[in-house]
Amino acid sequence: MAIARALINRPRIVICDEPTSALDVSVQSQILNLLQDLREELGLTYLVISHNLAVVEHMATRVAVMYLGRIVEEEDADTLFSSPKHPYSKALLESVLTPDPSLGIPDTHLGAAYPNPLDMPTGCRFHPRCIDVMPHCGQIAPQKIAFGDGHVECHLYDENRGKGSLAS
């Protein structure tokens, strides 16, 4: 019903904020199938907001990862899911629980403390929880670094300071 209401004026872009987060899996799959059929049929563009990465990988063509109000990494979905750059994206992907009984529960080493959004950490906003944190991460906010058709905000990929590289 909510989907029909959103489509009544024939929009070109539909923003779906957590379209399936409160649903059972059998209903979730019905909604995801429906959204994809409508995308084909009506030529829609979706901006899907979700914390369920299995759903994101299933639906998305491009993905932007947000952390504390900033987009820390953005690129096409294939690149993100095959080679995440930002440490937060990596931790997020590790936290996804695929239904595979041979695997245990991942340990992301993130620490539970989600920072207070009223009193943001200085420098890189992710540095208090980052496993690859470097001394200057707490002082200097990272800039957008472009690669391919995406970008990442992380000192690991700075040309002269970082340890990582953007080989892709």
Binding site: E57, G104, I105, A112, Y114
Partner: protein, 346 residues
């Protein structure tokens, strides 16, 4: 990481046989839980999985004897550590509840009392069940808060629930459930309200603590990803009944009941399902559980439905492997007289 723990028969923490819950509603008698049998051994995790309204939460509340007053529960047997706990006096039950068996609820914000400090709420259970001083209760609270990964635990004791984040509150709930060192812990959707990174941490913590304190755990969830990672054994519930039960490998690698297979096809799996591919779906809706229902509860939505599905009572019967039970006529190979339904405890 090995999550399998050796099972020994004598270590049974919880045994429930043929639990039923009935609630009178204006249109008749609602039967949300029908003939559910469960068992949990020490150090074992049993996951109850199913969709909203399948009766999994009411099952756990019935075990804890916390059902709403209108609901009536019956069962053949309910034993905690070998002792009967069904029909015992409320006073005796509340001696057990929180002490030998405890529960972690879904919403930490509604389960914690906003008017009392964390320290006060943590200490209350211990002081109720054991003869300890305030200082001892405080020490135990600090010890457990540190165990669940809360730094500067002593400082947190004076805080109120609203001063903590969702992840911290859930950690407090876990610490609270562990205060008396219970033998059985029932966790009802403990991570549903949390972010994925926090969810992974809480689950990691729960399974670590379970191993350390050697408890039996019943975990109730609808998230199959969580189930696969944490469960030793799984009970799949549909419309008030357990439709399939077995070890995690049996359920995920050889699902037998059409409902279980349908559920597993509904979820997109990174790396397995192709992006943009149509997902499996289960058509139809969950049947109403008011009044008596004949035949298989899943028959109205099943793609392999047959005439014999519509009548009679379909029992939980052994499937191919040992310990794997399924409530479906298609899975039952032999004639029904050979089925040892008495063994059909989950």
């Amino acid at each position: 990481m090995s999550k399998k723990i050796e099972k020994t028969g004598s270590n049974r923490v919880l045994e429930v046989k043929n639990l039923n819950v009935e609630i009178p509603v204006p249109s008749g008698l609602l039967r949300p839980v029908q003939n559910v049998s469960l068992r949990v051994d020490r150090g074992e995790t049993l996951c109850i999985v199913g969709e909203s309204g399948c009766g999994k939460s009411l099952t756990s509340l019935a075990i804890m004897d916390l059902l709403p007053s209108k609901a009536k529960r019956t069962c053949d047997e309910m034993r905690l550590l070998g002792e009967n706990v069904f029909g015992i006096k409320e006073r005796a039950m509340s001696d057990l509840r929180g002490d030998r068996m405890s529960m972690i609820f879904q919403e930490p914000m509604t389960s914690l009392n906003p008017a009392y400090t964390i320290g006060n709420q943590l200490g209350e259970a211990l002081r109720r069940h054991q003869n300890v001083s305030n200082a001892e209760a405080r020490d135990r609270a600090i010890y457990l808060l540190e165990k669940v990964g809360i730094t500067a635990a002593a400082g947190r004791l004076g805080q109120y629930p609203h001063q903590l984040s969702g992840g911290l509150r859930q950690r407090v709930m876990i610490a609270m459930a562990l205060m008396c060192g219970p033998d059985l812990i029932i966790a009802d959707e403990p991570t549903t309200a949390l972010d994925v990174t926090i969810q992974a941490q809480i689950l990691h913590l729960l399974s670590e603590l379970q191993r350390e304190f050697h408890m039996g755990m019943v975990l109730i969830t609808h998230d199959l990803g969580v189930v696969a990672r944490i469960a030793d054994r799984i009970a799949v519930m549909y419309a008030g009944q357990v439709v399939e039960t077995g070890t995690a490998e049996q359920i995920f690698n050889a699902p037998t009941h059409p409902y279980t297979r349908g559920l597993l096809q509904c979820i997109p799996i990174p790396g397995k399902t192709k992006r943009g591919e149509r997902l499996g779906a289960i058509p139809g809706i969950v049947p109403s559980l008011v009044g008596h229902m004949d035949g298989c509860h899943f028959a109205s939505r099943c793609s392999e439905v047959q005439a014999r599905c519509q009548t009679g009572n379909i029992e939980l019967a052994p499937a191919k492997q040992k310990g794997h039970l399924c409530r479906c006529v298609l899975a039952q190979s032999g004639p029904s007289s050979e089925l040892e339904t008495g063994e059909a405890a989950v």
